[in-house]
Amino acid sequence: MPYEFLEEVAIADVAFRATGQSLEELLTSAADATMNAMVDDLGTIDRTTTKSIHVEDEAEDLLLVNFLQELIYYKDAERLLLRPDRLRVERHGRCLVLDAVVSGEPVNPKRHALKVDVKAVTFHRLRVEHTPRGWEAMVVLDV
């Protein structure tokens, strides 16, 4: 699994480390980690509804925050649990542009073993790094 939840980083919140060979893979891992904080088994999310997400920023870490915030927005505004299908990041001048197609379905407590509601992505200890082994991020979610 390209992400792991961390026991000793946040007390009341949920921290995870995500990895990926590319920035796109890292963003996909982080999206699944965020969803996995709320739903125990991601395999129970049927991919019946599709959404497009477009976010931009100059820095990788802010791009990641903006992307995860979109998923959190849809969870509240349309009760959707979403996972990435396709995701592309391109650099346009100083700006990183992320376009993603995500899919999923509305929360269904009968089928989804629910965990804890994610309120927001915090900036606390937020880190996105390109290392010799690939991309790595640490994120603390407010729950």
Partner: protein
Amino acid sequence: MAVPPSIKKISDTVWEIPTSYKPGMRVPARLYATAKLLREMDDGVIDQVTNVAMLPGIVRYAFCMPDGHWGYGFPIGGVAPMDAEEGVISPGGIGFDINCGMRLVVTNLTYDDVKPHLKRLVDRLFERVPAGVGCTGFLNVPQREFRDVVEQGARWCVKKGLGWEEDLERTEERGCMAGADAGKISQKAVERGCDQIGTLGSGNHYLEIQVAKPEHVFDHEIAKVFGITIPHQVVVMFHCGSRGFGHQVATDYLQRFLRAMPTYHLSVPDRELACAPFRSPEGQDYFAAMQCAINMSFANRQVILHRIREVFSEVLGRTPEALGMRMVYDVTHNTAKLERYVVEGTARQLLIHRKGATRAFAPGADDLPEAYRQTGQPVIIGGSMETGSYVLVGVPSGEQTFFSTAHGSGRTMSRVKAKRIYNGRQLLQQMEAKGIYVRSASYAGLAEEAGGAYKDIDEVIETTELAGISKRVARFTPIGNVKG
């Protein structure tokens, strides 16, 4: 926690970290804790409270309450008084869940009256007060009208017949913050919150039926004023906030503040401490948006109270009035509020940030409802679902913390670790064996809230009393719990 060698013992319950501890600290930090609670605090607390001490305009001290633990930006339990003219406002000093708070309701029922109906009561509350990931309420409020809700708070609810006029009297700020401006909130915030009025959410949010045992009433006179008069009296306490609406308001402004900080030559050691001068356009816009989120939360708790009254009435076959279901108080523990204090002989307006800390006004405070002018402000403290909760009262010596005290028992173990150690289903059975009937939207969520993941609530509360920042009135024992 490794206690820093430079920490100075002020009293058995107050510890001070001097400004020499870390470059950039403008004021010392003060932690309220017994030696045991201090040792149990995690390292994040020291790091974060001393970071808060660096914020421009902070007055006297950065505080951490006895239930303090590692948060993001501020520690949970953090209090920061900022000069309203020279200081900053920081969304991280309030939290994403703006106006997360507590409400306490009494009944004229005893434990024996309720016991035969307990399961039915909890089951119906679980149905009528939606909880858990993605939960929505039963009110259909169009987006345009939701903007009225966030400007009017609990007043909107009472106008719609979802509460009693006296509920407003007994809500902080009468349930409506002046200065709320829906023009300062995003469409996304509206979309995240408009169908969540009357919902608990998840995490540590809960609704509990509790009993005041006679041996747990510590101040009978004040308890009587609060409406706690019968042995083994049943009360209802609940904890929730401004739901997705408040979370989005905080998210929107945190990002705006991060972009604005260079303009004001501000830098902070943790981006979660992003801030703007309170009197700047950004600071004032956030303040107006934050008031909207405070109001959403007052409305949320008002509608939940209405549902509780409906359920008790339905199950017990008497009107809420006949059941004596009067509200004691509603108090927030995640806010920044303008208050006046005399600092070094000069009257100043301060913006008191309280993140996981409760305002605790002493007797005589102008902002208190008439009923509590003589007693002081009720302070509602939610413990873990296995142990117990308290109602305290504000005291004159609370001025030392700008009338702030604890808000709960405070975690000692991370959620991830608690989930590894505890099993939600087993916990549910154990609690039932102890006489606590629980309905939860999530077994995993239940495990995270196990009593063992929290500090000893009795020690936390005793510390607030020994330190002179609040006083015990009554302790409540849980018998039924709806958990998000």
